[in-house]
């Protein structure tokens, strides 16, 4: 499997505050990378870099061997913890938006046969995330889990090269979260996705990921904590391949892996 995303010697600085230092990373096609780390260790910055919301101060980021533009684009889909869906559109219209934007640059609306095609595609995508019965609901009428399903469907309709998940299940009940884990796992398999997921939940990181990336500061100056940035302190490839069921990984496995690396 070849690398689709590569970060070379990436630094992010705000004034004299260093957030990320010397980050080198290759992310393989069809990987499911979980990113963990303490608060303030640059997880969100890392995600914003890949999303194109900000540019690195130094270093280069290449997607499919092309330098990444510091702007969001349809090749990278995203699901945030909240506010990822549009409250003024029904589930179906939310999902159709990506298709409409691409095909109708001026009106961003489709008519006739093109509209029917877009609707069928969106409906199929909603079906595959389990929202087939809720196509005409507005987000305010949906539960948190349903909204996240919708946000995923909305992103997948664009067939992104990379799907970025920013603590996507952090606000959900444990039961719903387990359902969402099953869903994202099967979508990852069925649509041959490359996923980068930022999470606070270490268990989630290990059960879902094929690779776990821990961001933290290697060095710490107690008098000037902002002078050292975070980088990948652990980079653990897991045996969590497509053919291995996620539930096989247990807490003792995680402990073994961590001990072996430490």
């Amino acid at each position: 499997m070849s690398a689709i995303l590569s970060l070379r010697d990436v630094w992010v600085e705000y004034g004299d505050r260093i957030v990320i230092e010397k980050l080198n990373l290759e992310i393989a096609d069809r990987a499911f990378v979980s990113v963990i780390g303490p608060s303030g260790a640059g997880k969100s910055t890392f995600l914003r870099l890949i999303l194109g919301q900000e540019a690195p101060t130094r270093g280069s980021i290449r997607l499919d061997d092309v330098p990444l533009k510091p702007e969001c684009g349809p090749d990278r889909g995203v699901v945030f913890q909240r506010y990822s869906v549009f409250p003024h559109l029904s589930a179906l219209r939310n999902t159709m938006l990506g298709i409409e934007c691409a095909q109708a640059p001026f009106s961003a609306r489709l008519f006739g046969a093109a509209r029917r095609a877009a609707r069928d595609e969106a409906a199929a995508m909603l079906h595959s995330v389990g929202l087939a019965d809720s196509m005409h609901l507005y987000p305010a009428q949906m539960s948190g889990g349903m909204q996240q399903r919708l946000a995923i469907a909305q992103a997948l309709v664009k067939r992104p090269r990379i799907l970025l998940l920013d603590e996507p299940f952090g606000a959900l009940d444990p039961g719903i979260r387990a359902d969402m884990h099953t869903l994202i796992k099967s979508l990852w398999r069925d649509y041959a996705l490359t996923i980068i997921m930022v999470t606070h939940d270490i268990r989630e990181a290990f059960t879902l990921g094929t690779r776990v990336l821990a961001l933290d500061k290697r060095r710490h100056d107690p008098h000037a904590p902002h002078r050292f940035g975070a980088t990948a302190v652990y980079d653990l490839p897991l045996r969590n391949r497509i053919d291995v069921a996620a539930d096989d990984i247990t807490a003792s496995d995680i402990a073994t892996i961590l001990e072996a690396r430490a």
């Binding site: 999303l51 919301q53 702007e71 969001c72 684009g73 349809p74 990278r76 889909g77 995203v78 945030f80 909240r82 506010y83 990822s84 869906v85 549009f86 409250p87 003024h88 559109l89 938006l97 990506g98 409409e100 934007c101 691409a102 640059p105 001026f106 009106s107 961003a108 507005y138 987000p139 305010a140 009428q141 946000a151 909305q154 992103a155 309709v157 664009k158 992104p160």
Partner: protein, 271 residues
Amino acid sequence: MRWVNRHVRGSDRILLGALPIAVLAIIYLVVAADRHAANPADKILPLPGTMAHSMAALIFQPDVMSGQLVFWADTLASLERLGAGLGIATLMALVVGLALGVLPPIRATFSPLVTGIAVIPPIALLPILFIALGLGQTSKIALIVIGIAPVMIRDISAHVGALPREQIIKAQTLGASSWQVMIRVALPQAMPRLLHAMRLSLGPAWVFLISAEAIASDVGLGYRIFLVRRYLSMDVILPYVAWIALLAIAMDTLLVFLSRRLFPWAHGESH
């Protein structure tokens, strides 16, 4: 039971709401009757019969000079000015507010100008408008527009600017251009707010309309009120004021109805 927990049911609410209005009406009638007992020709607090009689003349009998039904001509002229002013201001709020809210370079360029215009008391500009645009329809409509548009623009641009950043990012990852973000993400979410801004602007719009009509006009609700003031015709002024209040309430109700009808998603979960 604490008063904060005493919720009033539908029919009781209408009854309670009508109570203060009825009390005021009764107080008026008692005082007016009292004055008329002392002086049957009293003009300050006319009795309902006198008001009905004077208004009937304005509503049903054509004016000898112009041949028009005065009351309806006034209403039509005022609503025309108010409608044009409110319409232009709303359109400006939508276009300018949206551009200011979504596009940072536009915001940096024009928001100081909008703020500057917004802090000028519009009535102070009235002489300029009369000089520049004449005493006709244009200057009255322009006064309403200048009076309410800047506030509406700032409201819409602030509302659009406060949309969650995640939504704008998400739209871009779905391939939306700046234009598409504006028309598919920002515009629809600005619409309920726009109707709300119109409701809030109705009050000031009426103030500017009546002011402009009072100073230079030959027809209109404000013109009539200030004209008959010379004859102490409270029997015309009071019904006219009540009529203005009724029109304002009707417009407000219409806007609420439209907002609920057109943008159910903006009014909570129950739709």
